[in-house]
Structures are given as C-alpha cells and as structure tokens.
C-alpha cells in the first residue's frame, strides 16, 4: 500500500469477495499472458517524501536560475516578479485540482475566472473575442494558421522573419500536417521588409503573420504592414507580448483579425519554459472557428447569473473530426495566474509597468551602445528588449559574464545565421538600474578581454 492508496488487507479481502475473484491478479488475466510484463519495472524503489525532496533539491541546485544570477534573458519568456497573491490563489485546492468544468453547477469558480480572463485579454488586445487559453505561444500561432485555412479556404501563409523562430518552426511543423505553404519575408533594419511583404501576399494567401515587438525587440508598424493582407482578403495574425500592451497600440486597433501570443509574462513563472499559456483573441467573425475553451454567460433555472463552456460545438468532444482544433486539456490554472496578476497590476499599474519597461530598456540600450565593442543591431524603436552586435565571439563573452553571475542575453546565432554576432537583451522591472550598469561594465570588460585574447 503506497501512502496515496487506502486499501488495507481487510479492504482487499472484502472487495475481492464482492467482485467474486480470489486475487487482483485474476482481474489482470484479461491481459494475454505474453503481454504481461512479468517482472518489476526497472525503476528505483519508492522513496520517502523527505528523500524525494532532497533528491530534487539537489538537481535544482545545479541550475543557474534567476534567483542565483542576474538574468537579461528573454526571447519570449521574461523574469517578471510574480506577486505573492498569485501563488496563494492558484495553489488553492479548489483551483488546483478540479478537471475541466464539464459540470458547470459545481464549477462556477473556474468558469467565472475564464470569463474574467477573456474580458481582460480582450481589453489588452482590443479584440472582442478571447479563448480561455491555449498551450503556449508558438503552438497558438500554428493553430491560428489552421483557423485561417478554415476561414479563407486558402493554404498559403506569409510570415515575417520577425516572428519568433519557435513560432515559425512550429507553424512549419503543423503546416506539413494540415497542408499549407509557408513563405517567409525578411527584415530590414530590424523591421519587416514592407515591400517584400506586399509582394509576397496574393489572392492565395490565407494569412499574414507578424509579431510586434518582433523577435529582435523592434516595434512593428502593424497597421501599415497589414494593409497588404486586407487588400487580398487574407487574415492578419499578430503575435504580441502582453506586457507591452499597456503602451503599444493594441492589435485590434491595427486591423488584426487575430492577436495571440505567449502568456508567460502575465503571472507565470519561468519554469524552464512551461507550463504557461497561449492567449488567442479574434474578431466576432471568427468566434465559431476559435480554438480552445470559451466561457460564456448565462442563467440558471431560477434566473441566477452563471457561466458555462460556450460554443462547445466547435470542440473535439462534440465535433470530433470536424472540430476547429484538437485541443482539450489546456492551461486553465496558468490563465488564472495571469488574471490575478492583471487584477493586481490594475489599469494604472499595467500602464505604468509598460512605461517602466520602455524607459529602462531605452536606458539599457543606450548604456550598452556606448560600450566599446558593442553596437546596436538595429535602430528601430523598442519596448522591452533590444538586440546588439558584439565585436567578440558571443558564446565566449556570455561565458565570461556567467562567471560574474550575469546571464547577459540570448545569442541570435543559431536561429539567425545572419546575426552570428547578435545578442538579444531583455529588461523586466526586476532589472534595476544598478544591474543594467553592471551589465554594461561587465560586457565592456568581457569584450575587451576577448579581443585582447585574455584567457578566463
């Protein structure tokens, strides 16, 4: 008997009698003998709670996390401060342990949270309809592609190179499945090449994918770029960073049909990449093509206000092969974290935080640009992240800064061979002026040392 099960020897006897078998093994006889394992799994024996804790704490010790070092890593996930009330609320059993709210009468807590979350994301993106949350950023973008095919009956995607490389790659992976061609449009001065984009879009284009701020941190003129899509009846799909939407014009006001993105910056910890959530907002026109759960308001038999899963006829458990998406279990708890974080920030705080990020990012960009051996990779306006070029091998410089307890940023080389010398630097409200100054100082020392070939 493990500590999580309760069947005592007596219980087993009574239960087996009631079933009418003499042993549990008899119940497993429906498995053909040759398919029974017949040996213990080759796994360690069970451990006590304290031993499991020690084991995992020892593993955790071997990671350089943002509590141990000063991190300027971003590239889609950011070291924002998650307020204590987020943990206090998301850790309540009542939110942590239920399944998807299939029985609305006893799931009003979770359903109302979804409704509130949809309202908040709709406010942020400026689009009227929001899903209750998808897996995470890149797969949400790929799901938008699936929606676009359904909406336009076309199978050609035009994607800016400014879209997160993980999103572009995921879109490609999915496209092989549902059958779509992906055309990429390059960057000019850190921004999507408008002319190339206009050329690439045609009457066969199902959707145009942009990201703003884009992967290099540059704020795109979505409205202007989107014109090409409008003209040819393609959907305009915009990935965005929710933390910038207190300051930047919302996609909905820029003509986007769909706004989506990675939700981690809102109330979710880094967790080495997940779980977080993807948000997905769209125009009324797309409401019956949306992926994922959507909560809707209704009434009970006595006229009480209540909430249910609405438009379930889109979903796999009803529509099966005709579903608008296959998603089932998604990220309800992570969306709750986001909602609590947004309520905590509030209307004023959310804007102030956005402005704080813009100002500290501008400061950091200036400080680094002033460093000898460091120059800006582009001059486009930025909101919370920016790219520089180093006149020394990026990975070597990063190792030197790591020695000093600084994760200086994200090396662009692997995903942007054209920026082999590129480094992406992200700012959050946790990165103080002092830390930014320290980064500049350390970077200058490291680049200099590399150029002089000093060995670590």
């Amino acid at each position: 008997m493990t500590r999580y099960t309760s069947a005592t020897a007596d219980d087993r006897r009574e239960m087996l009698d009631a079933i009418g078998v003499s042993s549990v093994d008899e119940l497993f006889e429906q498995i053909p003998p040759e398919l029974r394992l017949g040996r213990p799994l080759e796994l360690p024996e069970g451990m006590s709670e304290s031993e499991v804790y020690e084991r995992l704490a020892a593993l955790a010790e071997r990671n350089a996390d943002a509590e141990k070092e000063v991190s300027f890593l971003g590239a889609g996930m950011y070291d924002h401060y998650v307020p204590a009330i987020v943990d206090a609320i998301t850790s309540r059993s009542e939110f942590l342990t239920p399944y998807t709210p299939y029985q609305p009468e006893i799931s009003q807590g979770g359903l109302q949270v979804m409704f509130e979350f949809q309202t908040a994301m709709s406010e942020l993106t400026g689009l009227p309809v929001s899903s209750a949350g998808l897996y995470e950023g890149p797969s949400s973008l790929a799901s938008a592609g699936y929606l676009a095919i359904g909406a336009t009956k076309r199978r050609r995607f035009v994607v800016s190179r400014g879209v997160h490389p993980h999103s572009r790659e995921t879109l490609r992976t999915y496209s092989v499945g549902y059958g779509a061609e992906v055309v990429e449009v390059g960057l000019e001065g850190g921004l999507t090449d408008a002319a190339a984009l206009a050329d690439a879009v045609d009457g066969e284009t199902a959707a145009v994918f942009l990201q703003s701020p884009n992967f290099l941190g540059a704020v795109e003129d979505v409205e202007a770029l989107g014109a090409a899509a409008k003209e040819h009846g393609a959907l305009l799909i915009v990935a965005c960073d929710p933390m910038t939407l207190g300051v930047l014009k919302p996609p909905g006001e820029c003509g986007a049909d769909i706004a989506l993105g990675e939700g981690q910056p809102l109330g979710n910890r880094l967790d080495f990449g997940g779980p977080s959530f993807g948000f997905f907002c769209a125009t009324e026109a797309q409401i019956r093509r949306m992926p994922g759960r959507i909560a809707g308001e209704t009434e009970d038999v006595d006229g009480r206000r209540g909430f249910v899963l609405a438009l379930q006829t889109r979903e796999q458990h009803i529509r099966r092969e005709k579903a608008t998406n296959n998603i089932c279990t998604a990220q309800a708890l992570n969306a709750l974290g986001a909602m609590v974080h947004l309520a905590w920030l509030g209307r004023q705080g959310f804007r102030e935080l956005g402005e704080l990020l813009v100002r500290r990012t501008a400061y950091a960009r200036e400080r680094l640009a002033a460093v000898d051996g460091v120059e800006l990779l582009h001059e486009a306006p930025v909101a919370r992240e920016f790219a520089v070029r180093l006149e020394a091998p990026v990975s070597k410089v990063l190792d030197r800064l790591a020695e000093r307890g600084i994760a200086a940023g994200y090396p662009l080389g692997r995903e942007f061979p054209e920026f082999e010398d590129g480094l992406l630097v992200a700012i959050t409200e946790r990165r103080t002026k002092a830390q930014i100054d320290e980064l500049a100082e350390a970077l200058s020392a490291a680049v200099a040392a590399e150029r002089e070939g000093v060995t670590v």
Partner: protein
Amino acid sequence: MALTETPMQAERARTIFEKSKAGRRAAALPATEVPETPISELIPEKLLRREAPRLPEIAEPEIVRHYNRLSRRNFDLDSGFYPLGSCTMKHNPRLNERVAALPGHARLHPAQDPKRAQGALELMWLLQRSLSEICGLPHVSLQPSAGSHGELAGLLLTRAYHADRGEERTKVLAPDTSHGTNPASVTMAGYEVVKVATDEVGGVEMDDLRAKLAENEGEVACLMLTNPNTLGVFDENIGEIARLIHEAGGTLYYDGANLNAVMGHSRPGDMGFDIVHVNLHKSFSQPHGGGGPGAGPIAVSDRIEPFLPRPQVVRSEGSNGHGPSFDLDFDRPKSIGRLRGFQGNFGVFVRSYAYILSLGADGLAEASETAVLNANYLKARLAEGRAGERLPIAFDRHCMHEFVLSGKPMKRELGLATLDLAKRLLDFGFHPPTVYFPLLVDEALMVEPTETETKESLDAFADAVEQILAEGETDPELAKNAPYTTPVRRLDEVKATRQPVVRQQLEE
C-alpha cells in the same frame, strides 16, 4: 426560518471588473530609476496606445477575497469523490508542488545555456528514461503540451515516417469508441478518419478491421487505439491487431490516457505499438488545474525515432573524471521540427518525476492494481439492487481501471436521463462520472474511481446512486430538476451558444 436558498446561491455572481473603482490599485511598482523620458520620444506616437486597457482597479484585500470566494464555487478533488471517467482524478501530492516551486526550477529561464541548466536537463532525461521503461519503447520526447498535442505529434511522426519511405498515405483508422481528440487530431494532421466498429465484448471488431484495411489498402497510415479502451476493456486481440496494421504498413498509435490501468503490468511497446502518448496530468499526478496545465510526452520505437521533435535532451558520458553531461540536440535532420516553444512543460515534468520517485517500481504497479481493484469493486456494487437493473454495465466482464454503464433502462423505465442522475449526484456531494461518452453506449456513464479512493467513498457513491434511483421510482421530478444545493442550479447552455456573451461589457 425556512431556507429559500443556500448562502452561496444567495450570493449573485459579480465579476472582478464589476468590483472595480477608479483610482484603486494593488500594485506598487519599483521607481523608474532612469530618466522619465516621455514615451512618445522613445516610440512613435502612431504606434502607441491611447487609452489604458480597462483592467479592474481594486486593492489587494478585495482581490484576495474575490478569488477566495470564487474558489469555493468549485467542486474539487480535495473536497470529494471525483469518478470522472477517462480523466484519472487521482490524488495530487503537495510534495510535487513544493519541489516544482524550488527557485532552481521555477525561476530557471528556458533559454539558459545548457551548461548552466544541467540539473533541469538531467531531470528531463531521467523522466524520459522512466517513461521509456513504463511504456516499453526506447525513445521519448517530452515536448507535447498535453494528450491531444501528443496525438498530433504522433500523426505528424507517422506522416514523416511514411514520407521518408516515399509513401503518402491518407487514412487513419480509429474505433468508434475513441476519444474526440483522436479524430480531431487526425484531421489537423491532414488525414481522413476511418471508423472501426466495436465487437460484442467491447474490443475492436476484427472482421471490420480487416475489411477497412482491405478497402483502404495502401492508404492506411495509422491505427489509433486506447488500450484498455474507453470502455475500460483490455483488447485481447491487440497482438493480432498489431500484426495486421504492421502488415498493412501502418503505424500503431497508443492513446495513453488509460495507462493508469497497466503501469508495471503491461507495456504498449510490448503490445506492438509504435507511438504512445502519456498524459502526465492523469497517470502521473499533475493536478488538472481546472483544465490544465498538463503534458503529453510521447514514447516511440526505433523506426520512428529519427523524426522526433527538436530539440531532444541527450546525455553524454563524462570523460576524464567528469560525470555525465546533458545537452539539447537540435541537429536532427529528419525531425518533424518543433511543436511548441522551448522544451515543453518542465514544471509538469518535475511533478511527475517526483511522483515516479515517490512510488517507485512497486508503487506504480500497486497503483494500477488498486485502480483496477477499485473499479471492479465499484462495478460490483453498482451491479447490485436498483443500479444493477436500471444502469446495466455496457459490456459485462471484468473491467480494468474504469467501466461504462448505460442509463437506457433508467430512461425508459423512470424517464430519467443520465444527465438527471448526474445532476442529482451533485446534491449528494459527488462529482458525477463522465456522461454520454463513449458515444456508442446510449446514456453512457463512464466511471473511473482511481486508486487513491477509499472503499468507504466507493460504498457511499454506490449508496447514493441506489438512493437516487429509489427516489426516481416515487418522484422522478426530483432528479429532473436537480441540482438544488449547488452555487447555481441547472444552467441554460443553449442560450450561451445561441447568443454568446463571452466577455464583461464595460462602460466609457
């Protein structure tokens, strides 16, 4: 004083937006510290937002109250019995939450240099090895975000596998008992679903399978199966099924949602499956969170391995005195590519690995044993008395970890639909079983008690069903109008779909 409503019913729903008052706030932010340059000097005006989004304005105490009170309007696993078929609502150990929250896990950036994330990569590698052993398949990718994501991955792997052999197949077989995500994934992966019938003992109808294979010769890319299937029945013909599919050149996909029945007893790989997805939020105790997060790692055979998603966690033996080291391998030319950002739902991996460490080999096997014992016991209890008459078991045989009843006689004889029984169960403080699934059983009730329930809970549930059926004989209206004691009563779901209201409307 007569009670007209319960205290919770008396409290009408108000969203946090309706509790907002201009000027209030919870957040204090750090000082800017750097020059307060006007934003419009840093970003062109035309790219800026005019009005701040109308987020709620409310101080911390009332935010906490709002969500605490809301939380009590949920029924949860820590409140009572939750026999939701196919969902494996087993206990969620808090130890797992504790270890997942360690800063070394929770504040580790996904783009951290692998050299400085060795603990995380080793944990992922260890989890991969564990799942590989449990599934009986040599290779694992942890990337998929949930079961359905794993299914899509499996189908894309199937496509890549066939393409690599110069074939393009168009059909995927799935039994009529399959879960909705299966056909949905098939379509998303660009395939067409071909249904296979179920035989009188709840398994795949072999003749129909042969027929479908013949009809679609050379076209069948894959057969997706759940075993034990959604009827809780282990398909004894699985060996033969595998032979047929492989003969036909297809891949065999195992929907692992029901793995909790066979851990340490039987392995999909040994049954002949090529691809398996595992729902860590089911068999491996990741809390469901009211609809996620989860994770859907996949285990595959050698012939599928080359196509696994990128990146893969790899281990290299330590040289000269150094221990082994771990890395992310992106250099996988035949890979289907990414299914999502970064490395997957790591926080879920930590919880599930903690669970595997806690139970160990014996514990996992014992968990499945007890899950099967509990299911068969509850089935036996429900075969007695009124339940036995009105709610017969759909396929009368020993079940594995779950079983399906049919409310058909109850409906015919008492006029009570399965839905009525489910709603009335709410008044007895139980979460109802899964209803109306699988589709081939009318008025289906799918019951999965899981191993972490006590005999007392199973008995209490059986007694409640008996009592509801007894009530139904004298006063069927009671169940038809149930529930009575829940925070809200029966809700108008049609309205919510006909005239969808999907967000709070706000003034100004």
